[in-house]
Point group: C2
Chain length 341, copies 2
């Protein structure tokens, strides 16, 4: 299997990116093709013992920055490490693309550039794989579509379910619709219009789900528009940091609590690990015609390695073919009766 990694993606590129590529190649027996400015990538690679590893470098002169506007980057930087990398996947010279770079730019290049959408897909969806203490929650859309229609949400639900089943090995993922109440009929106009579509879809739909229930393990896939999804995910991240930071500050207030914290350190460490976003690796962009995983810009080498593992699992699970089949089975690629307001 050949996986392309954007060597210029992370905030500290190419350091964590290249190290992650080396680790992944060693651990997962995949070929990692790093795209980026060749002299830079090659120099960084020399710091590791790569004998016997399948790591290649493909030159790409341009770098997408956090300042690049997603809407123009596909035209303005056709030689970027993202663009060149996705082209390799489109040309069947590689099986998947992984980047820690600008999310909006990656989505835009994937959709408008080399990969394009899977036939019949109305909108690609960015999908969070949220690591929780007791289970893994697939949440989508988390930002690609701030306004969405019921027909889009139906496709998100199918794609999220296929991802859970094929890339994460969850049998018959339970798909819930994020809402402000569990009862049928609760929700906003969008969710009320979406529920009937999800009921008829070839997925294991379990109805409305509130945030509490979703975080407790009540659903495997949580479906929502990109605005609500962004609020959900960012509030989750911000709240957990808030609690940890407040506790850390309070623990420093006296010698006794500091000593207590020292003794309790293994427990704190386990909690941190149980909820570490870098343990999953990244967010799959679903609906484009190729496996694309977008990791966090702050990722360390372990995060990059795990994102590559995620891509590998998706390729092994034949994600794209299965999404195609899933959409066809439900007839969800047919004409659309709703559009966002």
């Amino acid at each position: 299997m050949r996986i392309v990694l954007d060597g210029m993606g992370s905030d500290q590129h190419p350091v964590p990116d290249v190290e992650g590529a080396v680790l992944a190649s060693r651990e997962y027996d995949v070929t990692v093709i790093i795209t980026g400015q060749k002299p830079l990538i090659t120099a960084q690679l020399k710091r590791y013992d790569t004998r016997g590893l399948k790591v290649e470098v493909v030159d790409a002169a341009e770098v997408v920055t956090m300042e690049d506007k997603p809407s123009v980057v596909v035209k303005s930087k056709p030689r970027s490490s993202m663009h060149v990398g996705m082209q390799l996947v489109a040309d069947k010279q590689a099986d998947a693309f992984v980047t820690m770079g600008n999310t909006g730019a990656a989505m835009s290049i994937a959709t408008l550039g080399p990969l394009r959408r899977i036939a019949g897909v109305k909108r690609p969806s960015l999908c969070a794989v949220v690591r929780l203490p007791t289970h893994t929650l697939i949440a989508l859309d988390i930002g690609a579509n701030a306004d969405a229609s019921p027909a889009w949400l139906e496709q998100f639900a199918i794609m999220g379910s296929v991802y859970g089943e094929r890339a994460l090995g969850i049998a018959r993922p339970r798909v819930g619709l994020l809402s402000n109440g569990e009862e049928e009929g609760k929700g906003c106009e969008l969710t009320r219009a979406t529920a009937p579509l999800l009921k008829r879809a070839a997925i294991n739909y379990i109805g409305n789900i509130e945030p509490k229930e979703a975080l407790r393990g009540g659903a495997d896939v949580l479906v929502m528009d990109g605005f609500a999804g962004n609020v959900f995910l960012k509030t989750l991240e911000a709240s957990t940091s808030l609690v940890s930071n407040t506790l850390r500050d309070e623990l420093k207030r006296s010698v006794f609590t500091m000593l207590g914290a020292l003794l309790a350190k293994p427990a704190f460490k386990r909690v941190r690990k149980a909820m570490d976003p870098f343990e999953t690796g990244g967010a799959p962009l679903l609906g484009v015609d190729g496996v694309v995983i977008i990791g966090h810009g702050r990722s360390n080498a372990k995060g990059v390695k795990n994102a590559i593992r995620q891509a590998k699992l998706a390729v092994e699970g034949q994600l794209i073919e299965q999404i195609r089949a899933g959409l066809a089975q439900t007839g969800a690629t047919q004409n659309e009766s709703h559009t966002p307001a």
Copy 2:
């Protein structure tokens, strides 16, 4: 000052309700009028030393339960402790109404029953007063209006700002619009159409705010539709519980971490207190023509007492008159150009 308390509101009514009334009357020098089934309330009151306290009981034969449908309860139970209590406020026999009961029912009885909306208010809004380690965040709407229009959000912003200033004593509250990005132009259709209205409103509008920034103290008032607001608030609550519960479980795993937890106990306690929702007391229902505070069904006596304090502060701040003035100043009660999709 005379404050009505629904004696049949909390899950454990009338026990925490009556005790909270006694505590509040003792501490804040207010008259508390408890509505509910008189024999029950009177029997409960006898358990406390109420000499010198101003606590009265007004009989109300019916009880609103969690199963009562908000849409019909105003007609089906006209003698409920909620209905009778709000009638006292409408009749100027009391200054404010406080309940720990069914939120939907309380909103519905307030709006369709005795109190009605303040003239020109399009929709009442339920407003969370979120206690955070560093500051208090006013978040609205949190559930009354799952679909909202820009003009409604404009009114929510004004009402939330007035509440912050007059009931919580925040000078020139910074009002932010919940969004999926800080930059102008980010957001969904609703928020993009709302931003210009907030700019021209007579409030201290600071633009788009993401959850992280809001929780860090970047805004005093956070405005959103009831669906996003519900997702925000419930995700916040669920995430903080998730971290605490996971940590508690992990701390129990070894003798060392248990000992550590014991030593660190004061720190844990301070964190819990810093984020305890019962410390604020309840959620004001803004836009109805009378001060209404809706507390949590799980409230203990301290929660009830604090909800009564909240009502007292709102009355002292002349909340209703100030909301009227605030809406008039912005001209926000004029004709509406947007309705929800």
